[in-house]
Subunit: 226 residues, 2 copies
DNA sequence: CGCGGAATTGATGTGCATCAACTCGGGTGG
DNA sequence: CCACCCGAGTTGATGCACATCAATTCCGCG
């Protein structure tokens, strides 16, 4: 990423590797003071904002190589909770050290700006999904997102296990559990994928891609503003 | 914001004030190269992602004091378009100069990180709105958001003009124009506000606040996960 | 004065939430 | 090792919030 070997070493020296965490463990909770950014090494994490009555809004799922906590910089306090979905290895990066280091290493500073900016872009994607896509487009988008992120990390893009529950998927996508369940069976019936519990095998990536763009049957769908 | 007078001057020296822009003018379009951040001085701007067939998704409305373009840092290219809604004054800040400056002024770098992080937090708010709120909660949230942002800038929080059309409001909130229109009349009938075309007067802020939290009639609404 | 886009209002349709019943699998304790 | 249980997932029936369609009305502007 444009850092000299020396710089990489300096950056590396402030990163702390922790022992593995297990399903249900919290990285942090809403309201906790902000000191570290976290990077998923292996496993997966979900971030969410809990509400008093036990309900929650799932904000995202984080796979290996992805970073968690950027939203807490401004208030010095975490505004969501993070819980690991399966046995996972997570690195801690003390933000004050990172900030200091980025003053001395312009290319690191640049990377930080890009990282934060990318996060904004991703949120925008999600916003479009929730504002304009129907249930089937949402699930297709979700599956292809997971697929692409796994592929980038060298995992199979077409054969993987979902570490989160149907309930969590539905919550994340703004859908009811039952709708998610029905869509999985429908997608399977249509030959788009094979699903057995948490094990997913994507079969027809092309048609899934077409779905994401809301162009099933080769035309824009009924919503005039698309 | 924690900068010395000297630093403020240095920052000020790279900011360029432009002549006023008029309704319909573009600050930039999707795909344009990224060189500047923009700050609204007076007036208002909307950002949106256009789609081939003339449709669009409105991403946000930007009032005086607010910054535009942070999402373009990562790709060096704007991934949305920005168009002014009314005669507006906009400042340009060359990002490369700002980045350079922030290397020398740690507190400026810190502000930049906070600014980017805040943008992420705001997107998260919007995400919650679209995933979990019903039409009436969405419009109430929108109106209170505008209200609060105007108040922070010294304008009236209860009496203002909306520079955007009902169509744009609906698009932004993920609702049909007709729904927005119906809600305005309903809110007025319920004594929450007075509306006459683009002129809005908020009357019962307390009840509007209650609506935002989904606690109309003093209880959580029907959705079990709230 | 008359045109056209924006806004309102009403009637109708539908996608998905909700409610309810059932199945499945995995973990626990006897 | 099996019986039981309980949460997760599936499937079906029903309802409703909001989109869509359609018809006016209401300005702003030439």
């Amino acid at each position: 990423m444009g850092l000299s070997p020396d710089d990489v070493e300096r950056l590396d020296s402030i990163v702390k590797r922790n022992r593995p965490l297990h399903r249900g463990d919290h990285l942090f909770r809403e309201g906790d003071g902000f000191r570290f950014l976290y990077v998923v090494t292996t496993g997966s994490v979900k971030t969410y904002t809990p509400s008093e009555d036990g309900g929650e809004q799932v904000l995202g799922f984080h796979l290996p190589g992805e970073i968690i906590g950027l939203d807490a910089i401004q208030s010095e306090r975490h505004c969501c909770s993070a819980r690991v979905l399966e046995t996972s290895a997570i690195c801690e990066i003390p933000f004050d050290r990172l900030e200091e280091l980025s003053s001395f290493i312009p290319s690191l500073q640049h990377q930080m700006y890009r990282l934060l900016s990318r996060e904004i872009g991703q949120d925008t994607e999600m916003l479009m999904l929730l504002a304009k896509k129907n249930a089937e487009e949402r699930l297709a988008t979700f599956l292809l997102s997971i697929s692409g992120r796994l592929r980038k990390r060298g995992f199979s893009a077409t054969d993987f296990y979902l570490s989160m529950s149907r309930h969590e998927i539905g919550n994340y996508l703004g859908l009811a559990v039952e709708t998610v369940s029905r869509l999985f069976t429908r997608f399977q019936d249509d030959g788009l994928l094979h699903v057995e519990r948490k094990h997913i095998q994507l079969i027809d990536l092309v048609r899934l891609e077409a779905m994401v763009n809301g162009t099933v049957n080769g035309g824009p769908n009924h919503r005039h503003w698309k």
